[in-house]
Symmetry: D2
Subunit: 294 residues, 4 copies
Amino acid sequence: MAHYGFIGSGLMGLPMATNLLKAGHQLTVWNRSKEKCAPLLEAGATFVDTPLEVVIAAEVTFSMLADPQAALAVCFSPSGVIQAVAPGKAYVEMSTIDPETSSKIGISIQARGALFLEAPVSGSVPQAEAGELVIMCAGDHELYVALEEALNILGKKHLYLGEVGAAASMKLGVNQLMGSMMASFCEVLTLLEEAGLDAQDFLDIIGAGALAAPMFTAKGKKILARDRTPQFPLKHQQKDLRLALQLGDVHRVPMPVAAAANELFKRAYQYGLEDDDVSALFVSLHPAGRKPIM
Amino acid sequence: MAHYGFIGSGLMGLPMATNLLKAGHQLTVWNRSKEKCAPLLEAGATFVDTPLEVVIAAEVTFSMLADPQAALAVCFSPSGVIQAVAPGKAYVEMSTIDPETSSKIGISIQARGALFLEAPVSGSVPQAEAGELVIMCAGDHELYVALEEALNILGKKHLYLGEVGAAASMKLGVNQLMGSMMASFCEVLTLLEEAGLDAQDFLDIIGAGALAAPMFTAKGKKILARDRTPQFPLKHQQKDLRLALQLGDVHRVPMPVAAAANELFKRAYQYGLEDDDVSALFVSLHPAGRKPIM
Amino acid sequence: MAHYGFIGSGLMGLPMATNLLKAGHQLTVWNRSKEKCAPLLEAGATFVDTPLEVVIAAEVTFSMLADPQAALAVCFSPSGVIQAVAPGKAYVEMSTIDPETSSKIGISIQARGALFLEAPVSGSVPQAEAGELVIMCAGDHELYVALEEALNILGKKHLYLGEVGAAASMKLGVNQLMGSMMASFCEVLTLLEEAGLDAQDFLDIIGAGALAAPMFTAKGKKILARDRTPQFPLKHQQKDLRLALQLGDVHRVPMPVAAAANELFKRAYQYGLEDDDVSALFVSLHPAGRKPIM
Amino acid sequence: MAHYGFIGSGLMGLPMATNLLKAGHQLTVWNRSKEKCAPLLEAGATFVDTPLEVVIAAEVTFSMLADPQAALAVCFSPSGVIQAVAPGKAYVEMSTIDPETSSKIGISIQARGALFLEAPVSGSVPQAEAGELVIMCAGDHELYVALEEALNILGKKHLYLGEVGAAASMKLGVNQLMGSMMASFCEVLTLLEEAGLDAQDFLDIIGAGALAAPMFTAKGKKILARDRTPQFPLKHQQKDLRLALQLGDVHRVPMPVAAAANELFKRAYQYGLEDDDVSALFVSLHPAGRKPIM
């Protein structure tokens, strides 16, 4: 059994770390607020006070954080990962971050003789819990090969995409599509509701045709049940659209649909919906003065 | 066996009418250009010179046309449907048109004592050929009930949604989502290509997750195979976005994502792609000066 | 002195008709609600009960109405303009309507032997009051020439642009630019306010540079003074963006900026701002939960 | 007379530095490519090999660079400004950059005991040449006061807006409005051209009304004269829209019109128009297959 480190015990990190523990691996963990690690500690994980100590304790350290700022802080702060990486150590960055930030981290890790894998995932809380994530990998191929068993614990599918930055870009592409789909889904649900139609009929119809996607089923159910409990927080979706648009700016690719979706998600902050599930976007589209169904 | 009429032998109408024939029904047909009916005539259908004569010959007449203008012309022209409808006759409008146009047609049909069903479909050529369309119905409920067998020949699922206009609105909602998804899909494929990533990897990744929709599989394959053969012509997708936006205007629902997608599809006309498959939108997003993969 | 007819006594029609009266012309008027004509009747105008009677009384009838629906109704209703036009009569349509609607009206008028001028204006209430509108004309050139004096009473500038439809299209272009500018202006004011900057400084800066437009001065003042009194109602601006987008659809011109502006104005209806001045758009952009400055 | 430093001899920096020279001030200059300084050297300026040496030579150093990357490099590179600033020195950052970058530079300068003024300008080449810029200032107020004469040489108006970041934000707001106006202007010109109308008529009409802005006159003339010579390069306008959108993201202000305009400008890169004047955006909107008027 291996000794893994895990940094970040948020909505995603917690079930992922849990799965590594359940598979029998030793786990050292760190999170900004220790309380969120409680379930892991009860299950046998060891908490340390800094990211640096995680890396010292473990052979391979995974991190799953909210955004590029958090990923940079965990790596480069005075008690950060970078202070402990060395030959024989490995770092797996699973946060959804832009390729530029990922490269900054990866190059610094590799410059100290450690191995680096960029490994963002597709899937949200239910997939993380079930170990059914799709894991996009890039960076040191020997590390990718060596982590075969861990990747199989965490996900149902993993791919190696090439040099550092490739997986980060791929992930942003996935989440750009997801965000645009969710924004359009909420627009249509609002239109149909205003036109006096039944949302469940709409879900049944698209569920039987070419647009049938598990996300519409899952998020449609949440919207109809007025359930805003976050599986994938709205603010993370907006952050990913923003990062995808930055990537589009770098490559000079016009992406007006993603840009429109991004502005729509930004509007949801004005309603205080940023920590709710991404599907709560529906609430902010709902005409004021009418009782929202959510 | 019934005697059906079928008006419109385009990409969709032809396989639909063929399925009614194959099921043993008598069929009288009309199309603006007779040649397109050839396969039907060989299979035993009778061609007449005007929509009016179709209605005279058949108990129930289906129509499947390109847009509101065509639907209005077939109904209200001097030799149109409206001249022949009468008690005992029924008219089923399956074209994708706006609820206002549909109501105009339905009210006029009903005012002459005939039955009317608005019955737009979800699905494109392969579904039409396989009799696996999803059929959204609204209007005279007794006609909906009476047509049970015909609806089962044409589609795998049918719903009754209420008064005339309901099915037309629902259909526009479906195609609004479809158009926004296709536009976003092409944006992401362009971005990933510019970032040096492999489109097939992207298709594999989304195919394994919450975004997996048959449309992405089918259209992704067409894009990678450089196949622009129309299943659902781009100009029809743009027309549907336009009609959905008009409906949004009526109901005062802001739909910036659909609006951005619509403008993107309009740009494809500048590349002469309007008669190609909707997935040819990808070509118009592709940076000039680079060899498009499609 | 001539005998003019004037149909429509709204925000624009009232001061325009007043100016014709003040210049010494005889005036017969009609408006849907007679009360709005009170100032004109006091000043010597004659009220009649239908548009038809206006045309019978006057040599040249002007109309200034809210939208294409109103323009069509006034022309084609059973007691409409079309029932009375004949050789020797002339009709001047000054409403902002789409070229298709204008052509419908113009062709019908001309078919009855009367002369027709399409003459939408640039300018809002203050310009209408001051007789300083800019009048875009198209249609019968001899009527344009004959109306030289009346056009000089109503406006400070008039142009002849060609066949019916040309002036309507030009007007939509002007109002498309205006709506996009207003939407952007409100976006920037909101951003700067959130960034803690002073709106008056911004107005001073743009007032001294290449962006200085009288509209920014006038509307900036209204926004800072929390004055929503309509000079140009928001719903009319949104209607014009919608009509411009329809024209863009006809000509296949992608106009993503106008489309985004249009969706933004639609959102203002959700705040009940449609009858307020166009500058009240600012209110709907303002983050909820903060006290709007307007 | 003062001894000024000037870093950056691009389209804007060259005429600005020239005006300081003409007013009798001593000038030490640096630019990445020395050739661009030739006119300044002929007029009496001294060229040095690094930004550091400019600061050593001059009391107050102005910089006018292309973007945040350039501004950061000039300040923080091994031979950058930061190596030489000290009590008694002052640095005036006139580049259009985001407030975050500006603060990074300002704080570092001030931490070394020097004075810092953020001073972006409104106006392009003709205004820079004529000394008619509008200068937005923020930072050390005593430096603002001390530079009264220099600011009067460079511009026709200057304001003090508060702490570092305020002027950068204000400038982005100005250029956000400018970019959205230019994008809308090009959309309308394209629409009117496709509708068979005359662009000069449109310019005359808006020139007589509430939308009259010097920019439309100047850029309309360039477009009609097919003159793409850069006064304000398209890529700078796009960069400013991008920075404004980033600021909007920080403050959670939805700005869909600016976002749509930004994506439109990005498309112009696909046509190789980035180094042309911002008004060349018109070319990229022009339907392919028709002869562009520009």
